[in-house]
Amino acid sequence: MRFVDEFRDPAAARRLVRTIDSLVDEDRRYQFMEVCGGHTHTIYRHGIEQLLPDQIELVHGPGCPVCVIPMGRVDDAIHVAEHEGLIFTSFGDMMRVPGSEGDNLLAAKARGADVRMVYSPLDALQVALDEPDREVVFFAVGFETTAPSTAVTLLKAQALGVRNFSVFCNHVTIVPPLRAILESPDLRLDGFIGPGHVSTVIGNRPYRFVPRDYGKPLVTAGFEPLDVLQSIEMLLRQLREGRCEVENQYTRIVRDEGNPQALAILARVFSLRPHFEWRGMGFISQSALQIGEDFATFDAERRYEVPGVRVADPKSCQCGEVLKGVIKPWECKVFGTACTPETPIGTCMVSSEGACAAYYNFGRLRHAAVPDDVTALPVA
């Protein structure tokens, strides 16, 4: 596949790893956080941690939009979904995200709610057009990558005068949690692998505070193995040369200024929430989007009563620490035992971009050092 296969070239990867080896200072340790869950997925799927010198540790950040949705919001979604006669549409990833007491949208469907999976918010709008006599709600999640798609869908719904469509908006923004992580005292990071697809929309400029205020380099990176390796090489080179900047490895996709049209659409449709709760990270101010006044009739939170109850994460769940990179997935006490992709306790185990699920699916056997099983590893 073009723009994929060539960025998986093994020979180039070997050379890159050698270059990385040569840039590492034997006597120091490096902790780099990959902000985005897409990178976490690539890192585990392709065994990148095993290729790197021991001095480099990759810390998995909060950039999985499914993983950061707090339980209370899932409860609200289920509550809306169970309204009589309503059609509730959602990305597949959200179906098994646990609300309180292990409830989820799939279970709601089993109880009789009309919950449907869609690939795109436009598909959800199409359901509303096809079934004008029923109320249709779209469960919107995602960072700035996904929010413009919801915004375009709302513009279209407004233009078409659709009355039976609304959005339960859970869009979040990347900069506030990044800042929260940088403020967190128990973390010592040396640099960031910046989120590639969020940056297609917001560009590279919003990250300038990271080197300026916190003295950490950040390299916006693509999602193929060579992209990730090259971004690590760029971070090491900055450290070695005493530079501290925002750099762009993903130039084929990301422009420094982002996508001005998408930003204009976001500004037209959404406004910032004063604060939003992140799973495991608590409330972060101005970290999420809500539907703006001009589109109030499409706001499911105004159209339906939602309980809006804050639910504490289960005691056994350590997703917060995983999301902040304080512990590794396998260090959680319930990892792989009570918490598996089939029966997730925490959200990090649900999405393929969640650190726990990525590690469970791809990294587990390697870490457990079961030599006989090694060749049977699932490698895509």
């Binding site: 960025f7 392709h46 950039g63 939009p65 795109s120 513009l155 130039t251 049209q261 490698v379």
Partner: protein
């Protein structure tokens, strides 16, 4: 869900509605190009929202697709430049690392010990110094 996939625009369905057909590895599906705008054969740009046209796409363009939307036009020149840079990696280091490996203090090919398919030793690597594999690992054979 947050992953994007590269696809090529193969057909414009409805310029007014910004609908196009994209081909991803042989699979075709309708996508929206509202976030980029659509360039017509005569050079004009159509869009449902304010678009300055600099990112407008047309048939044969490669785009990154996410939840049914073209998010970004893939810049083929930049992709080629990145690949060229990736290919150039290691050249200045190659010799130094081979010498370094030869004195036996470190094996730069230890990464081959990993069973990961896409990094399986290829012909070029096999002609270098013999990689030292941990006893418990078998190098996958015959891949390149």
């Amino acid at each position: 869900m947050c992953l994007g996939i590269p696809g090529r625009i193969v057909e414009i369905v409805d310029p007014g509605q910004q609908r196009a057909i994209a081909d991803v590895d042989g699979v075709r599906r309708e996508i929206s190009v509202s976030l980029l705008g659509l360039r017509q054969p005569d050079g004009s740009v159509t869009s449902t929202i304010e678009v300055d046209g600099s990112d407008a796409v047309t048939v044969d363009d490669w785009v990154l697709i996410h939840v049914g939307f073209a998010m970004s036009r893939i810049d083929e020149d930049e992709a080629a430049a990145t690949l060229a840079a990736l290919r150039a990696y290691g050249d200045p280091y190659q010799q130094e690392m081979e010498e370094y490996a030869a004195d036996g203090t470190m094996d730069p090919l230890r990464m081959f010990a990993d069973e990961v398919e896409w990094l399986a030793p290829d012909g070029a690597a096999a002609s270098g110094p013999e990689p030292t594999m941990p006893d418990t690992h078998e190098a996958p054979a015959g891949r390149s």
